[in-house]
Each structure stands twice: as C-alpha cells, then as structure tokens.
Amino acid sequence: MSHELITMDINTLIEVALIIVKVIFVSLTLFALPIPLTWMERKVAGHIQLRLGPFRVGPHGILQPVADMIKLMFKEDIVPDKADRRLFWLAPLLAMVPAFAVYAAIPFGDTVKIPFVDKEITLYISDMNVGILYILAISGMSVYGLILGGWASNSKYAAMGGIRSSAQMISYEIALSFACVAVVMIANSLSLLDIVNAQKELHWNIIYQPLGFIIFLIAALAEINRIPFDLPEDEGTLAAGYHVEYSAMKFSFFMLAEYVAMVTVSVLAVILFFGGWNAPLFLPEIPIFWFVAKVAFFIYFFMWIRFTLPRYRYDQLMTIGWKILLPLSLLNILVTGLFLL
C-alpha cells in the first residue's frame, strides 16, 4: 500500500515537472520569437519596397534586433506628467500576459516518444475540453492593455487609439468567434486536439470552410491590429496611437504582445483550417515540422499583407465588421448546419 502510494507520487511529480518544463520552454520560445520576427518583418518590408532592409549590423543585418533590444533596455523610462501611474504601469503587463497565457491550451502536435526512456510526451501543456473558448476568451482580454495604456497616458492621441481599439476588437471578436463556431460544428468538439484529429487524411477544414477561413483571416487581422486594420496605431492621424507615450521596456512589452498575437492567429489558422500537424498531400509525417512550417507560412503571409494593402478608414472598418463579416459568418454557420444534417 505504502509502496504504491510512493510510486504514484513519483509519477505525479514527474507529470508536474514535465508541465513546468513545458511552460518554461514555451514561454522562453515566445519571448525569443520577436527577435527573428522583427528582423524578418523588416527584411520582408525592404524587399517588397525594393530596398535592402537592415544591412549594417551583422551579415544581412541579422543582429539588428539585438541592437534594438539593447537600445530599448537602456532608454529612459518616461512616465508622462499627470498620467495615472498605476494603470500606466499595469497596462503593458495586461497586454502581454494574455498573449502568453493563450499558449496553455495550444497543441503543437500529438505525442512523441522519447528514445531510451520509453515515455510518451504530449506536445501540449493541457488539452482542455473548452480549448477554443479559452483561447478566444483570454486573447480577448489583451484589449485591456490597449485601452488602459491609451487612457492612463493622459494624452488625447493615446486615448483616441485606446477607444478605437476597444470598439474595433469588440466588433471583430464576434465575427472571429462565429467563424470558429462552424469549425467546432464540423469537429463536434471544442478541444483543439479533437479539431485537428478530425482533419486527418487531408480532410482539412479549408476545403469545407473556405468562407469561414476568409472571415477568420480578416477578423484576425483586425484583432491583432495589423494593416489594413491598424487604426488604433494609425500613425497618420494618431502619431502612434495607444502607445504614443510609452518608451523603453514598457513599449517593448506592447511590441512583444503584438508579435506573440500574430504568432497566435497564425497558429490558430493552422489548427482550425489547415489540419494542424497533419502532413500536406502524402508527404511523410514528421512531428512538429509541418506545424512549424505552416505557421511560418502564415506569419510570412501577415507580413506580406502589411506591406501590400493600404489602411481602411474608421467608418469602413465598422461597416466591414458589422454589415459584411457578421452576416456572412452567420450565413456560414447556417450553411454548415445544413450540410451536417
């Protein structure tokens, strides 16, 4: 009896240790990701606009993000006079924490067997039976960082950016969620693991949900505040929007949150519509590789869009969200339901 208890304890301890290791690994990766991503974004921008992009620091400017990081760390941390100091300090954290917390529910693969130890490891931190709801709920929270950052700065441009972002994110969250509902209807489950497993053998949701994917993509672009929907930080009219008064590390927190959010929507697009870690065509299955490759494609896609499209006007933004995307997503759910019956 006591022997049994002890072995059970060791097993649970290993499980707990594994989860902690996974959490540390995932968050470190996410912290490090913006370093290559900022470099890539500038390179993509450069080549699209027929420039070279960063070229001075290191070969092909590859050390530019490191130089930027050092600059951000040693800049003066300015808090505007008459700003709400507590909220001004809290806002970057509120923007960043949800962006990271989302990854508690995101699966990167099924299981891998570790050689020698003969133990299977799951490639996700947890498989929640409400996975997609959790992700939508937590990622919706990051809007607080934007609103409060804009409000606490006590500056009219920042406040305008904050108010714009809250209206925009609420509007597009609905269409985004409805696009996900159709996928959930097909998979018959809210768990992301089940959603991916329902797309085996090339039954990818993009084939059944082309309209849903387009709605998802447009709404996601608006949710992560990227061109053509980057009105919260519209530099033409708002200087820089909600983070206009931020500098140094607080500013970099906002940037970090923005990049992680871009990775998140790429990951979601892959999981929901492009078969997750299932190999395309009849290529061999390699753990994680296909997943990372697809996510990388979508990250590139979002960068490509940024330097291709102009920005929408604010009233156009609202029209697209409420009068086009929302009815279309409802129609999509209706049609999906008809096919499933």
């Binding site: 709801l133 709920a137 929270m141 809007v143 609103i147 409060l148 108010i163 609420i170």
Partner: protein
C-alpha cells in the same frame, strides 16, 4: 491543496469586490470588477466547470467590462472622483447595509431553498451535456431569456436613435 487555491481566489475576489465600491476613480473600480470576475472564473475551474469559467471570462471580462470601460472613459473623471454618489454621507450607507445583511440572513435561515438544491443535474462539465440540458430540460427558461435579451437590444436601439423630425 484545492482548499488553499480556493482561499486565495475567494479572498482576492472579495478584496477586489471591496475595491470596486471603495475606490474613488471609476476606471480603477472597473479594473477591480474585472479582477473580481476573473477570480470567480478561477473558482468555477476549481468546481470542475471549465465551460462556465471560459464563458465568464469571455462575456464578462472580455465584452461587458470593455463596454463599461468604454463608457467610463467618456466621463469627466476629475468631476466623477470628487462628486459623491450617495448624499448624506456614511450614515445612510451603514443603515442600508445593516438592513440588507439582516434580510439576507433572515431569508437564508428561514427558507429551505439551500437545503433543497435546485434540480441537481449531473453535469460532467462537458459542453455537449450542458447544451443538451439547456435545450431539453430548461428549454422554456432558455427561450424566455433570449426574448428578454432581444427586448433589451431593441430598447437600446430605440433609445440610441436620433429623433426624426
């Protein structure tokens, strides 16, 4: 272990709820309310209903509170922090509070509502099961709620509309 977590969440929920009513700045109150909702969601997770927790965060923290903040930010904060909500100071608040606590305690001690436990449905926290119970056993309340929401929606539109002359 679970008890410790429950205590942490419960104490934080109550602390932030007190913050909602005691803080002077409306924006700070709104943030406290958001924190309170979040702690309640955490308690739902401890009660093995992740679905309710996710919905709580999704709707209350994600949508309702953002709209609250949106409205509050349009206010003149400096005026709002100085003006008092209840005229007559602390005295009336204490009187009302005592009356309220007395009434609640009286209801709890006299009624057998708590002992009866409202129709204990065995839910394993899965979404499918919640959906089934909603659309079979509780179909009428569910439909009534949707009608009430529709009425609220129409009311908001009517009130928000500019008058046509």
């Amino acid at each position: 272990m679970e008890k410790i977590f429950f205590l942490i969440f419960a104490i934080m929920a109550i602390a932030s709820a007190i913050g909602v009513v005691s803080l002077r700045n409306p924006v700070h109150s709104a943030i406290s309310l958001m924190a309170c909702f979040f702690q309640v969601a955490a308690i739902f997770v401890l009660l093995r209903s992740p679905f309710l927790a996710a919905v709580q965060v999704f709707l209350y923290v994600g949508a309702v509170m953002v709209l609250f903040l949106f409205v509050i930010m349009m206010l003149d904060i400096r005026k709002a922090t100085i003006s008092r909500f209840v005229p007559g100071g602390l005295f009336w608040i204490v009187v009302i509070l005592i009356a309220l606590v007395y009434e609640i305690l009286a209801v709890i001690s006299k009624s057998n509502l708590l002992a009866r436990r409202v129709a204990a449905v065995r839910l394993d926290g899965t979404v499918a099961e919640i959906g089934k119970t909603l659309f079979t056993e509780y179909l009428l309340p569910f439909e009534v709620v949707s009608v009430i929401l529709l009425v609220a929606l129409i009311g908001a539109i009517v009130m928000g509309k500019k008058e046509i002359k």
